[in-house]
């Protein structure tokens, strides 16, 4: 199971980095999402992978799995969800404003060329 989990994390990370290097905002956002999935699994695995054990006190439990990493993953999921929402809205805003969804700023003539609206 460790090998499978490690392979999945590696695959997700590789795919995420590939997408992150694209030039348009949508693939980049997908790449960020894939990376956040990878890191969530990674945090989960950092508490050691065990099967079928309870995370919190149970009267008949012989052993426990680490509950802390599960709490950390929950926090990380919530945060990455919120951040994804922010960047999607921002990317749509930038697309509507500029008419292009490129992530680079090469066609910018210069910064702060005029007083902000």
């Amino acid at each position: 199971m460790e090998a499978l989990l490690a392979a999945v994390i590696g695959l997700l990370t590789a795919a995420g980095i590939y997408m992150l290097l694209r030039k348009r905002t949508f693939p980049v956002i997908v790449g960020l999402a894939l990376l956040s999935y990878a890191v969530n699994l990674f945090i989960f695995a950092s508490g050691r992978v065990v099967a079928g054990l309870p995370p919190i006190l149970a009267p008949d439990a012989a052993a426990y799995t680490d509950p802390l990493t599960q709490a950390l993953v929950l926090t990380a999921i919530v945060i990455s969800f919120g951040m994804s929402a922010v960047i999607v809205v921002l990317a749509i805003g930038a697309y509507l404003e500029t008419g292009s969804d490129g992530i680079d700023m090469t066609d910018a003539p210069s910064d702060r060329d005029g007083p902000a609206a």
Binding site: A45, V86, G93, I103, R112
Partner: protein
């Protein structure tokens, strides 16, 4: 427990929430509560500063769960110092925003500002590395909103880049934290300090990797080369006062590096040794060089100030990378100085933008109303930032040169040459904006006569002067601070960790 410790986190959070919910349509009310909150925050921060100086580090257990199981906030000298700096900077920025009406150009400025302060204060106070991540996210998500405040084409595009860069950094942060947890089984900083010092040989490689990941993450925040790319575009396109507030954001990276690599992974840790110091020194020197060249080559005032911020981070990290108590003292002094000086210069750039119409350095524009006073302010701030006497930048650089005495040939030459480059760059910009303009026919635009923005810039410059004049007492506090950072015994003991 001293409940005042949590006030810097809770107060801005409550006020910001109230601002969104109850004062949405009323700008005057927002301003009153925003400013009142920041003043109150300043008072609390000062009280905590005095308390931290008098008492050993104090732990605040959230929900009264004992460390390392519960999350703790820790008040020590370093945290109190950063809180006070943040509150003062926030006050100046807020006065400026109210004076110039920046908060009218978009919605929810004061609410976002409050959440930003909550994240900053939390990051400085927390005693748990995962909690540090959470507060990083709080301050970042507020900064995303502030960065695109007012909208506009270039600002939105720069905003997308800024957010993307920081999301990648957050992911790396999580990878680093999970690695640390898998090696040590704890995320409490004091507990980590004990566990890292006694780590068995076989686990050292993982801890080194985790430390490096954290170094990269904090380096991104602190705009160290090669992770500085986001800074010039972001800061030059952000609203001027927001860029001024962001002067403290790079210092969050510096603070985190100082905290993690003196408390948890100091050079005396057998598992990691001087690995991080060896990386940081060359990185700092290259950052300094890139920043200074950027100042020299920038085509707008905004980008020039942003590169000056990069250069100041380089100078700061030359001191940090020495990893000795004396060098840490110098670094802390430079943190105070460069935050104030960078913020002042960003505000001055915004003053120029509002009057001159643009910030281009390509050619001179007609003289604008009030250019005389602004030129003096510009002179003061650039003298401070370039490190010329008589202001605090000179003292700061002098101390950094002093602590880097054993690498004189390399470090001294880089710092001195880059200082010269920055002086030339600032002088060029100043003469284009202020001097050459007088050769052109005057521009009879309606002058903005609001005094509050000048009060705000004046306060920042006055603080720089105070930092110079009162360098003796300030250094006394800072040496005590760095001494306590390099002797973490009381910090760890305050947690009352269980044995074993």
């Amino acid at each position: 427990m001293n409940h005042w410790i949590i006030v810097p986190v809770v107060l801005p959070a409550i006020l910001a929430g109230l601002t969104v919910l109850a004062m949405r349509g009323d700008l005057v009310l927002q301003r009153v509560f925003g400013l009142g909150g920041t003043v109150a925050l300043g008072g609390v921060a000062l009280a905590l500063l005095v308390a931290a100086d008098a008492n050993p580090p104090e732990v605040y257990r959230l929900g009264d769960w004992p460390a390392p199981f519960g999350i703790v906030l820790v008040l020590d000298r370093l945290a109190a110092l950063m809180l006070t700096l943040t509150a003062f900077l926030a006050l100046c920025v807020q006065l400026y925003v109210i004076g110039t009406g920046w908060d009218k150009r978009g919605r929810h400025f004061h609410a976002l500002f409050g959440f930003q302060l909550m994240g900053l204060n939390g990051a400085f106070l927390t005693g748990d590395v995962f909690n540090l991540f959470v507060f990083f996210e709080v301050l970042l998500i507020a900064s995303y909103g502030l960065m695109i405040h007012g909208g506009g084409r270039e600002r939105l595009r720069a905003g997308v880049q800024y957010v993307t860069f920081n999301l990648v950094a957050s992911t790396l942060f999580l990878f680093g934290l999970a690695t640390i947890y898998s090696v040590t089984g704890t995320l409490n900083m004091a507990d980590l300090a004990i566990k890292a010092a006694t780590l068995p040989e076989g686990e050292a490689a993982l801890l080194r990797v985790a430390g490096l990941l954290l170094l990269i993450v904090f380096g991104i925040k602190a705009a160290l080369v090669p992770f500085h790319f986001w800074l010039p575009g972001t800061y030059a396109n952000a609203p001027g006062p927001v860029a001024a507030l962001f002067a403290i954001m790079t210092k969050v990276g510096a603070y985190s590096i100082l905290r993690v690599f003196t408390l948890i992974l100091p050079p005396s840790t057998p598992a990691t040794g001087a690995l991080y110091a060896d990386i940081l020194l060359p990185v700092a020197l290259v950052t300094l060089a890139v920043g200074a060249l950027g100042v020299l080559g920038a085509r707008t005032v905004g980008r020039m100030v942003a590169f000056a911020a990069v250069a100041s981070m380089g100078t700061l990290f030359v001191a940090v990378s020495q990893f000795t108590p004396a060098a840490t003292t110098a670094a802390l002094y430079y943190v105070l100085h460069s935050t104030l000086a960078t913020a002042a210069l960003f505000l001055i750039a915004d003053l120029i933008l509002a009057r001159r119409g643009d910030l281009s350095l390509a050619e001179a524009r007609p003289a604008f109303a009030g250019s005389g006073l602004i030129a003096w302010l510009f002179l003061g701030a650039t003298v401070a930032l370039a490190g010329m006497p008589p202001l605090s930048g000179f003292l700061g650089k002098l101390m950094i040169l002093e602590v880097a005495r054993d690498q004189m040939a390399l470090v001294w030459s880089v710092i001195l040459v880059t200082s010269l480059l920055m002086i030339v760059g600032f002088a060029q910009a100043g003469s284009t904006v202020f001097w050459k303009s007088h050769a052109l026919p005057a521009d009879h635009r309606e002058a903005d006569t609001a005094a509050l923005p000048f009060v705000s810039v004046g306060l920042l410059l006055a603080a720089i002067v105070a930092l110079t004049v009162l360098a003796g007492p300030v250094m006394g506090y800072l040496s005590a601070t760095s001494a306590s950072m390099w002797d973490p015994g009381p910090y760890i003991a305050a947690h009352a960790l269980p044995e074993g």
